[in-house]
């Protein structure tokens, strides 16, 4: 079985994450898109690990899961905070800065 399919899958996942990040306004979806991008990098790493015959790639992926967990914690906290303070998870709802408010 050739690694091409894995590469294709990883790059597709990355761009799906990117599309979600750019096009959606729901904060949850933004958060999950970023997680998806990071996970696709994990896939890429695992594939490279097998291609190179070097286990380090998998270990990096393992460390990355830790990083993903850390980002998830902060993101969820932020979403909870923002929903509590403004009853909204719409990223377009936050335009006070652009309007130069204080």
């Amino acid at each position: 079985m050739s690694p091409n399919l894995f590469f294709l899958l990883a790059s597709l996942l990355f761009s799906i994450g990117l599309v979600g990040l750019v096009s959606r306004r729901n904060l949850f979806v933004l958060y999950m898109s970023i997680e998806l991008m990071l996970s696709s990098i994990n896939l890429l790493l695992a594939t490279f690990s097998k291609v190179l015959g070097d286990a380090s790639g998998s270990v990096i992926a393992l460390l990355m899961i830790g990083v993903i967990a850390a980002e998830a914690a902060l993101f969820l906290a932020m979403i909870v905070h923002i929903y509590r303070s403004s009853r909204s998870v719409d990223s377009d709802n936050f335009t006070a800065l652009a309007q130069g408010k204080e």
Partner: protein, 186 residues
Amino acid sequence: MERRLVVQGIENLLEISIFTILALFMLGGSITMIMSRQTIFSAFGFLVAMIALAGIFALLDARFLAVAQIMVSVGAIVVLSILTVLTINMREENLPYERHKYKWMFFSFILALPITLLIYKSATAMYESFKTMEAVTSKVVGKLLFSEWVLAFEIVSVLLLAAMVGAIVIARKEIPKHEIPKEERA
């Protein structure tokens, strides 16, 4: 001899079909995630994608990674996300009203396409086949983790701690309004 070839052929077929199924699940899950209006469907799509990703890790002989993926990503992160979605319990009218969602998606897909191709082309141009290697079991991972990657491993713990502190600080209930002087209120 004959028999080995047949077995290998069947194994290959099996591998490809398993990969196809998993890949379809992943793509389907992630596309559901970015498409659906209801947050909870998005979260379930994400869950499916993450479980399928664990399967693909297993297919890549990274068994420990697969287990970690199931335990951490699926078991902790995604479940936590779903719990958060349920806790917040957003009502329909609080969801963002995205009228031009598909238009945006189309444009951003055109933007993302070159990046996809760039990653894919540059990766495939270099490698055409897998190397045979022993499966990445917990033993191998453990050895590497505590020799070559021990520094990274240790600072990941600091990262988790910092993120935890940050999360607590952000998510903690605010000081009641009446205790704050008027001019500081937003």
